[in-house]
């Protein structure tokens, strides 16, 4: 037990060290990073505008959301996306492709922890830009954001499971690069799936029933769409139990597969370019 605790402690401190280093690096290119962070907000702004137009065309509401409701939904999406985005699907394959991955294998800290620590630095810094933008959008579009204390508490409980489930799923996709090296095609399909089924493109309420059913069976909606709905008052806090159960089940399942897949992948890895 002590060993497990020590290992977890080391993973935490090692990941934090990577996070710290990542943040130091990102501060070197403030303008570039600010532009990148701003551009990442565009997708939510565009989706918001589209769905507000659809609502207006449908007499004011669509799927139970009016213009202010959509504004609230996508403003919260902006922030929660940064918190649950892991970046592993980009960072790890990039290192495999460019030959920089070997160095991570040589360190006494799991490469996924190193990768996640570095990519989480992006999220933390993005929030510095995204939160003020979200505040401006909230005022400009009269966004409806009215979470109950229970909803806030439920969101806080769900988020760690959401991050774990996303990190597990992202890692599974990322390690395909051990065999395929270049995985931009797979990553594109995965990004589209998470965008659509995670509620980033549209709230679940406006999706066709069959698609909503698929979304509820997968972890992506529960990792992002559901916490957004909690905070805009569209989901009940009691459903957080279902969210935690689904996310935990997916995380356990994925981690069980990830372990042998990782071993097989690193065995197949040819350390090219090193």
């Amino acid at each position: 037990m002590t060993t497990v605790a020590a290992q977890l402690g080391h993973m935490w401190s090692g990941g934090s060290a990577q996070l710290r280093l990542g943040m130091i690096q990102l501060t070197q290119y403030r303008a570039s990073f600010a532009i990148w962070a701003l551009s990442s907000t565009l997708q939510a702004v565009v989706a918001m505008a589209v769905w507000q137009a659809v609502a207006a065309a449908n007499g004011g509401t669509t799927g139970g959301y009016d213009a202010s409701g959509f504004a609230g939904y996508f403003v919260i999406a902006l922030i929660l996306r940064e918190l649950t985005f892991t970046g592993i699907v980009y960072h790890l394959p990039n290192r495999v492709e460019t030959g920089k991955f070997a160095i991570y294998l040589l360190r006494p800290l799991h490469p996924l922890v190193q990768t996640y620590g570095a990519s989480f630095a992006n999220s933390v810094q993005s929030l510095v830009f995204v939160i003020p933008i979200a505040a401006v959008l909230t005022i400009a579009y009269d966004a409806t954001i009215s979470p109950s204390p229970a909803a806030v508490l439920a969101t806080i409980v769900v988020l760690p499971f959401a991050i774990l489930a996303r990190a597990s799923a992202d890692s599974m996709v990322a390690i395909s690069s051990f065999w395929l090296v270049r995985i931009s095609g797979i990553r594109g399909i995965y990004a589209m799936a998470t965008l659509l089924l995670g509620g980033q493109f549209a709230p679940l309420a406006v999706l066709p029933d069959w698609l909503a059913t698929i979304a509820r069976a997968l972890p992506f909606y529960w990792a992002l769409g559901f916490p957004i709905e909690l905070l805009v008052g569209r989901a009940d806090a009691s459903e957080a139990i279902t969210a935690v159960a689904v996310l935990a089940a997916w995380s356990i399942g994925l981690l069980l597969v990830l372990q042998p897949a990782w071993r097989a992948g690193t065995r197949a890895y040819e350390a090219v370019g090193q």
């Binding site: 090692g14 280093l21 070997a102 040589l106 360190r107 006494p108 690193t266 890895y269 040819e270």
Partner: protein, 351 residues
Amino acid sequence: MAAAPDIAISADHASRTFHVPVREPGLAASLRSVVRRRTREVRAVEDVSFEIARGEVVGFLGPNGAGKTTTLKLLSGLLHPSGGTVRVLGTDPARRDHDLLRRISLVMGQRQQLAWDIPPADSFDMLRVVYQVERPAFREQLDELVALLGLEPVLDKPVRQLSLGERMKCELAAALIHRPEVLFLDEPTLGLDVQAQRRVREFISTYAARTGATVLLTSHYMADIEALAERVLVIHHGRLQFDGALKELAARTSDRKLVTVKFALDSDAGRDPARARELAATCGDVQDVDGAEVVVEVPRAEVRARMAALLDLPGVLDFTVEDEPIERVMERVFEAPASEDAATEVVGAEA
């Protein structure tokens, strides 16, 4: 083969095979390869066995593509052997056991322990956490590395603004923050100027002497190997060709000696290089003529007899007998074709 406790590194019939895509150049071949992919099997390392005792500094020699780097990757756990076994400090490195990773280090050229955009000091601190080095020990080790490598002026400069030599020294420091017991160095002086090469060599020598670390070092510069390693492993076409002392390598692989004959300046040969060449040629193959000095190559077995003949030449003032320079010895070894059973490449395979 169970490694003895004082053995730090061992390879027992270790092999590593890669499957490399094969394709003709051009668009048509490219399109064909989409439908029908062909690969060939490349045996990068084949049946390699050796043992290195704790505290030994061993040079690893071979031409490009001989299998040196692949062997280092096998020993550091980056690659799994296709056959045979390797052990480092009694452990299978491919398991990447964290306890082992804390005790070894691999330096590959100017590779990338250091974050590019920020000063090396920040990367060193991150490595301290990752390798779980206590702060006092880290401080002590870093101070020592900074002093030995002369890093003080570069510690707070972004890595991208450092010269190649400065970067290499920082990479070395990064690789040694955790004071590894086993150090794999792949071309640590590649691309450095002569002064920087010397400084890195001196540093490696000092580090090994101070810590008792086991070092396996590849280098294209024979000066590195001569300065650091008494024992060398020579790999060629994926197979180990020689394991022993550097001097023994010269004796075993070269059947020649070089004799430098110096003629008196007031003799005919001393005044006329053509005459000097003509006289010296009676004792061996002339390799070089420089004024009154001529270098001739003589068969090792005939040195004594040739010396007697040489002393009879008119105007001879002095002579020295030496082994061939190690670079020439290596060239000779590497020019040799692969033996029949040591084919390294191309076993036509399709996938």
